[in-house]
């Protein structure tokens, strides 16, 4: 996934994200600090103070206000970005729906952190999984390099479909660890993102409009139906923007899913974000032992790439789906539930089980990754397994 002959920088995930924001040079950033996402806007605020960007930076009094200010600014046609995590995202919750229903392409960094309670600051996906039905495009990244490039692609995707988009990176694991990031030139970023062409501009006094009117029994449903269509359109746009980016900059990012050693695989694991890196290592080790196991990394959760998953899993006998969040519905996490639903229509349905792991930042070592593969193998062989197994939790 390396960019060829590019400038290489040693950056943490947060630094990489802030650096992408600097190159994007948005019109407005409204933000409130929260661990582990604080650095993103802190570093960006320094860019503002140093005059390296032209952004209007709005230091608000809460995340609810941050997203509200983003909505107001974006409705004027401005390019708007922000960043948050966990409780901050929860506090934004009602405004997330306003942003998507007004079709405002706000791009936000979410550094995945467990939601309270009990209070915790470390990585899991309960925060963004809690906003999965808010009408935002959700991109989950594996490392700092992917996060950096996904933000730049995210601007183009969001502004083409007129939907807000969040790029997530695993709290501390990616946000605070330093990696090599291969960056684009400022000019390249500007040329790729172009200018925003807004659906409307609330400050256009020559063409007055009403934004956010009461929308009752007779129209609300039609507007929700439009959002579904926008999400369908987002699938086309994500595919074409990622392809264009790869072609232009010599990268090889997958649009929705990244199959890893799936060619002749008989059974497989589906994982997201940084855990996919550990799982690739485990798949390599098991392959050395002759196991026909593969991995699929899910990169886009909203819109849900059910067609791609059906295609990649159509000949697979058993699948284990990893969730770094639990739906507390007694049948596992959202990735498991939705993937199982997506594969229901396959001619030959695979056996499936869910794994909940890494909650509250619980470490996910290679031994646990191998254990997951062994459990999926047991499922394939018809041995008794639980529908959902909890990895790394003390009994």
């Amino acid at each position: 996934m390396a960019v060829k002959n590019r400038k290489r920088m040693a950056l943490t995930g947060n630094e990489a994200y802030a650096y992408a924001m600097k190159q994007i040079n948005p019109d407005v950033v409204a933000a409130y600090p929260i661990t582990p996402a604080t650095e993103i806007v802190q570093i960006f605020a320094k860019y503002v103070a140093d005059g390296l960007v032209n952004t209007e930076f709005v230091p608000v009094e809460s995340e609810h206000s941050a997203m509200s200010a983003c909505v107001g600014a974006s409705a004027t046609g401005a390019r708007v970005m922000t960043g948050t995590a966990s409780q901050g995202l929860a506090l934004m919750h009602e405004i997330l729906y306003i942003a998507s229903s007004l079709r405002l392409p706000i791009v936000m960094a979410v550094v995945n952190r467990a939601l309270s309670g009990p209070i915790n600051i470390h990585c899991d996906h309960s925060d963004t999984m809690g906003s999965r039905d808010a009408g935002w495009i959700q991109v989950y990244t594996e490392n700092a390099n992917e996060a950096y490039h996904s933000v730049i692609m995210g601007i183009r995707i969001a502004e083409t479909v007129n939907l807000p988009l969040m790029v997530t990176l695993d709290g501390f694991i990616i946000s605070h660890e330093m990696e090599v990031v291969e960056v684009l030139e400022d000019q390249e970023v500007q040329e790729f993102i172009g200018e925003r062409k807004p659906l409307y501009n609330i400050l256009d006094v020559d063409n007055p409009i009403t934004v956010g009117p009461l929308d009752l029994q007779d129209y609300y449903f039609e507007h929700k139906r439009q959002q579904v269509e926008a999400m369908k359109y987002a699938k086309e746009v994500i595919k074409s923007v990622v392809e264009e980016y790869n072609k232009k900059f010599g990268t090889d990012f997958p649009a929705f899913i990244e199959p890893y050693r799936m060619e002749d695989a008989e059974y497989a694991v589906l994982a997201m974000s940084s855990a996919a890196g550990t799982m690739k290592e485990a798949v390599d080790l098991m392959r050395e032992k002759g196991e026909k196991v593969g991995l699929v990394r899910l990169r886009v959760f909203r819109p849900f790439p059910f067609e791609e998953l059906r295609e990649v899993f159509k000949n697979i006998k058993a699948i284990g789906v990893m969730d770094r969040a639990d739906s507390l519905n007694t049948m596992g996490g959202p990735v498991f539930n939705e993937t199982r639903s997506a594969l229901y229509d396959l001619e030959t349905r695979p056996k499936m089980m869910g794994f909940v792991f890494g909650l509250g930042g619980r470490d996910f070592p290679i031994e646990d990754a191998i254990h997951i593969i062994e459990r999926v193998k047991a499922l394939k062989e018809g041995k008794k397994v639980d529908m959902v197994e909890y990895i790394g939790v003390r009994e």
Partner: protein, 95 residues
């Protein structure tokens, strides 16, 4: 009026025109109707001042009419009309 479907409506639930409130005839909300007695009226204009729907029409400093297309029948005009005058009376709306 045939309502537009999702494929025809503007995206983002915006109303792409202004002003649109005159098109919203709120008079059919009314269950009580103010009846104005021109002979009793002293044209103090309190009703005009308080009417939340700008439904009391004034010309040259005098009340000239009540606009029943917009009057919701809230009765505020009757309440603010001076007690010694009582030029406005709310009566049941006949359909």
């Amino acid at each position: 009026m045939k309502k537009k479907g999702w494929k025809e409506l503007p995206e983002g639930a915006i109303i792409p025109a202004a002003p649109t409130s005159p098109e919203f005839k709120t008079g059919d909300w009314r269950i009580q109707k103010p009846v104005w007695n021109e002979d009793k009226c002293v044209h103090c204009l309190l009703c005009w001042l308080y009417c939340p729907d700008s439904a009391i029409k004034v010309k040259d400093g005098k009340v000239v009419a009540f606009d029943y297309e917009y009057c919701k029948g809230c009765g505020i005009c009757e309440q603010v009309c001076p007690p010694k005058i009582r030029a406005i009376e709310m009566v049941k709306e006949e359909i």
